[in-house]
Amino acid sequence: MGLLRYTTYRLIQAIPVLIGVSILTFALANLTPGDPVRLMLQGQEADQETIERLEAQYGLDQPIHERYLTYMGGLVQGDMGHSFHRNAPVSELIANRIGPTLLLVLSAYVFALATSIPLGIIAAKRRNDPFDHVSRIVALFGVSTPSFWIGIMLILIFAVQLGWLPSSDLVYPWWSPETYGHDGYGEHFYQVIRHLLLPMIALGTLQMATLMRVERTQMIESLQGEYVKLARAYGVPERTIMRKHAFQVAQLPIITIVGLNLSTALGGSVLIEFVFDINGLGRLFYEAIIQLDYQLIMGITMIIATMFVIGVVITDIAYAYIDPRVTYGESE
């Protein structure tokens, strides 16, 4: 099977999972004690007539399986329903908020990869010397500390105490510098980075720590591999061995973990956007939950699950592309 066919195959495989996700979220939203209309109206008085009118408007007077099919029918056409609280289409609300979240998650990954891989390799090379010990302690702190608390501490140190960096909201690179009153693209770019720095580190630390641990273990194992011994026996320079023989193989598990950890990163973005007041998808999710805006909640859950599933598919394909041992097809 070629790469293209493998990609198509993996994407088709993802469809049943996403249908499953839609059933699950739909079931959860309808499992609530009391009907959705009462939840929507929480705290507000409403007469029987208003309730019935709302039920008819949202199709809630129909049996659950018909409602699900109607919802799915809309979903296929890109209609994710209507937000009761905001009186706007769910898809539009999500489209407006997805940018900051993607920017945050991707930059957290860039931070995590750029730090964890070199540190992990050095730790593996200098196994059991002070550098290794320090990096293992750092990694232990990284996996044991809640990301949102790291965010709070970063704000306390760099924004409240030192006043070096801003503590809230992002500057979007896709908006023009004039919107912010910046002097040209140089300053615009500088402000983007300044605003992104703290949330990026807060969200990326857990990823950095996990990846660093895996990188270290993988490099240690890889350096003990037969092919490395053979290369050494042939007198291949140590640098070339590190770069060509040990490094490449050791990256494969990293690729898988990057994909799977997207789940933690997307969940974590809810917390980080809450701490740093970022108007992204996570923040929208939080607000939708507080308002019990159930079509919006379902829409965001679907989108986040889709992002995760697509991320895993992309990393699977990258894996198959990089690993010379994998032939596409017998993927399971």
């Binding site: 999972v17 499953g20 959860l28 004690p33 500390t145 709070i152 789940s263 969940g267 939950i289 986040i304």
Partner: protein, 333 residues
């Protein structure tokens, strides 16, 4: 049955290092004792669990003594402690006091007081009650659910396996925090609390445990003693419960220990957003939520709950790492 218990599987696979369950566990325990990391993890976990047990007893004194001690808490009888939940009278409240080592602090409140004037040290200590019990209970629930699903899927194979694994994949596709929040809020009808959080977290962690158990079961299933039990006419249910699960359990234990840390991390996030324990119950995540509004006026409030969460999780991670090293022969030099 006698055949099943005698582990004849060992003879047929000379390549696998066969360990008898008993000596295996004893061996592991010995290795853990030798491993510095695991030992430190055990000290930290022991310390945290002791505090949790104490706060559980103190918090439920009235129930434990059939109502005779309803007005008494150890917290008020001990030095440095105060009542963890009760608000001080309006006139006497010393709000937002700094910790004792600060120039304006006093030893009567070692970590200062919160915006309501309650002793922060007491609330940090009593916060262990919710965080640790929820962490352990939810992990246990996920473990039980995951074991059931994974064992049945792995043992029967075929369409049962397919159906169960598709379901597991579906749950896995939603990031845990998102799934737990949606579950907690919807199932509680908009008023989340700890008991919903436990079930939600348990549900979200079924997939990870199911996958590990299933892959173990797939290899155990092929063992001769399972074949023998089947030939002897033992019912499937008994084979799964008495042979398959016990023999697949060791790697899951390591994972469960590490998972407790992850669970506490997630539960902290959940209550930080306000979907876990509700005030006035002392809970680390909830305290960080409150302190978020006082970041400029009282920085100390944001520090202590985070430190408590970090130490607790670190204990479980240290222990889990040590356990992994003890059980994984590949990393030995």
């Amino acid at each position: 049955m006698a055949v099943g218990e005698s582990q004849i599987g060992s003879g047929s696979e000379p390549a696998e290092k066969e360990v008898e369950p008993d000596t295996g566990w004893r061996n592991t325990a010995r290795k853990i004792k030798q491993d510095t990391t695991a030992r430190w993890g055990m000290y930290v976990i022991g310390f945290v669990l002791a505090i949790t047990a104490y706060t559980l007893v103190d918090g439920n004194l009235s129930r434990l003594t059939f109502g005779t001690m309803s007005d008494f808490t150890f917290a008020e009888a001990l030095p440095f402690f105060e009542h963890p939940e009760r608000l001080p009278a309006p006139g006497e409240a010393e709000t937002n006091q700094p910790p004792a080592f600060h120039a304006d602090g006093s030893l009567s409140h070692p970590l200062g007081t919160d915006p309501n004037g309650r002793d922060y040290f007491t609330r940090i200590v009593y916060g262990a009650q919710v965080s640790v019990t929820v962490g352990i209970a939810a992990t246990f629930l996920g473990l039980v659910g995951g074991t059931a699903v994974g064992a049945v899927a792995g043992y029967y194979g075929g369409w049962v396996d397919d159906a169960l694994m598709r379901a597991v994949e579906t749950v896995y596709a939603i990031p845990p925090l998102i799934l737990i929040i949606v579950f907690t809020v919807f199932v509680s009808g908009g008023s989340p609390d700890v008991q919903f959080a436990i079930v939600g977290v348990g549900l979200a962690f079924v997939p990870v445990f199911a996958r590990i158990i299933r892959s173990e079961v797939l290899s155990v299933r092929e063992m001769d003693y399972i074949e023998a039990a089947r030939a002897a006419g033992v019912k499937d249910r008994n084979i799964i419960l008495r042979h398959v699960i016990p023999n697949s359990f060791a790697p899951v234990m390591v994972y469960a220990t590490l998972q407790i840390g992850v669970t506490i991390l997630i539960v902290a996030g959940l209550s930080f957003l306000g979907f876990g324990a509700q005030p006035p119950t002392p809970d680390w995540g909830e305290m960080l939520n409150t302190s978020h509004g006082y970041m400029h006026s009282n920085v100390w409030l944001s520090i202590w709950p985070g430190v408590a969460i970090m130490i607790t999780i670190m204990g479980f991670n240290l222990f889990g790492d040590g356990l992994q090293d003890a059980l994984d022969p590949r990393l030995e030099d």
